[in-house]
Symmetry: C2
Subunit: 333 residues, 2 copies
């Protein structure tokens, strides 16, 4: 028996055991959100939950409580965005040591509530418990969407273009800079720090893309392109090729990578926590979709590769082909 | 500033800051579940979340993983029961150390899924993350109810009879026996051990009571009668009197209390985790409600006191009156 669990293994085990179905359940375990029909009309409900653990997902030594509150919301909103949904209601379960500073908690809650409002949602419940050691933040977000416009992970086809909604690796670069205590070293690095400490979920863009009806498959990038695209491939029984030269990397990312002795491509492929959208569409629709995103929201969709027959994710760098499937962040690794 | 947070203080702070309202939100923070209208029909959605932390809410040294899985479900189902709702969907966020034993996890999941099925619900999503140290289980349950039959904490009036749905203090007795390593000492104590390790949520009874239309206010007993009834009083701006002699205490509870040198009344009033229902109704309806519960489900509703004008919870023992408001379990104490 494996001494260490992988998140994929555990999810697969739960998925297999929980295989029962209800008539109004559209999608259970295995997508960004669970989806179920509402009693009347053409709306479905979306629900997602994510847990952040101190020392694993965040470090209070550099993460300001106000931004941590915002991030705890955003990482869940990103799952709603990935379905093309509208967030409605939020629940917060906060496990905190008894001695947590009231000023810390005030700032955390202020950031949390500010972010909930920015996404047009409402905090309606939760639970506060004592943790023996360290903070654990569990957030649940309920949303809704028009049933026949929801974007699932399933639906990608060979020949599809693979697009991402923004620069990759920014959050991983920011994390490395924070870990090395270099947050204040360069003004140019502030977008990297912000990408790690205060990520933005692409809710408006996700909804726009879903409403277009042109998206074949969509998910959010939380564990790095190499892992998340591998999930998308596995879900659809196909493969993907990623053009290394096409990955959207910012100048500040390359500069920080040089300063840290890190590889910008590693950050972009395996770093995780970018909370950009990863989507596929028919090759003939890619330009229309990019135009739509740009005109409506000023957003840039970058084509980074294509879906192909086969399995796994292959990185193309010039003539070199390399399998990068699942080379990302695994929460149990 | 208080060095230690209380759960009530934190909830009040969140409640005040999250005071925004949505048109379809019926009840936000402050009841057993949040309640919101569904798009069509006369149904409302219920949602509740509860977190269990290793070393705070459970102890793996004596809590078998299969029963812990069942309990993580039941404590949330109890909140659905307290509104008179029907549970539908469950989400599990599991934060576990990397080295958790696969056999432990298998047993936990088997118990969790078994319990979900017993309550007629379905596990539809969740999140698995690495915790630095110890298990943290966050469970969210979605349910539904007929809008005009939901039982809230608000609605109790002076003159109402206060009823509880089963014996009190059983779980506290069981916890003490486990802590003292006396689980196997007496066959007669097994119901106490079971009340702590494998509590049953009163979902069928809660729904029956709600459908009767006779209940004024209802909640579940998770923090002990002294605290939970004080919440009910505060919510309604009234007081309550509890007859010490009327509290339903089992013979095994009295026997275990004698063996442990504990007070059976302390267990019953302040122990917590009984997951029985606490409700009020008009004095003239109490017998009809008790008859209904007994005939339909074989359940025993015990009258334990009355709501009165004033504030706080007063225990009556013969001629002695004692304020016991909030003398229960506080998760941050």
């Amino acid at each position: 028996m494996a001494p260490h669990l992988t998140e994929r293994g555990l999810i697969a085990r739960i998925q297999a055991e929980a295989a029962g179905q209800a008539a109004d359940l559209v999608r259970g375990i295995g997508d960004d959100c669970a989806v179920f029909r509402q009693a009347g009309g053409d709306l479905v409900s979306l629900v997602t939950t994510d847990t952040l653990v101190e020392g694993v997902h965040f470090d209070c030594r550099w993460h300001p409580p106000h931004l941590l509150g915002r991030k705890a919301v955003a990482v869940n909103m990103s799952d709603i965005a990935a379905m093309g949904g509208t967030p409605r209601f939020v629940l917060l379960s906060l496990a905190a040591p008894a001695a947590v500073e009231p000023t810390w908690l005030d700032a955390f809650l202020a950031g949390f509530l500010e972010s909930v409002r920015e996404y047009g949602a409402l905090l309606i419940g939760g639970d506060t418990v004592h943790s023996g050691d360290g903070l654990v933040l569990s957030v649940t977000v309920l949303g809704e969407a028009v049933a026949n416009r929801v974007c699932y992970r399933a639906g990608a086809k060979p020949g599809d273009v693979v697009l991402v909604s923004g620069p990759l690796g920014q959050a991983a670069a920011g994390l490395t800079l924070c870990q090395q205590g270099r947050q204040q070293e360069q003004a140019a690095w502030q977008p990297l720090i912000a990408a790690h400490c205060d990520p933005q979920a692409q809710v408006a863009l996700g909804r726009l893309l879903a409403e277009s009806g042109l998206v074949h498959a969509m998910m959010d990038l939380s564990d790095g392109l190499a892992t998340d695209l591998a999930h998308l491939c596995a879900e659809n029984g196909v493969g993907a090729e990623v053009e290394g030269a096409a990955l959207p990397l910012t100048a500040e990312l390359r500069q920080a990578a040089a300063a840290c002795g890190a590889g910008p491509l590693d950050w972009a492929l395996t770093g995780g926590e970018d909370y950009q959208l990863l989507l596929t569409c028919a090759a003939g629709d890619a330009n229309a979709l990019r135009e739509l995103a740009h005109q409506a929201l000023g957003a840039t969709l970058s084509p980074v590769g294509r879906m192909v027959a086969g399995r796994g994710v292959t990185l193309l760098e010039g003539a070199v082909r390399r399998d990068i499937s699942y080379q990302g962040y695994d929460h149990f690794r």
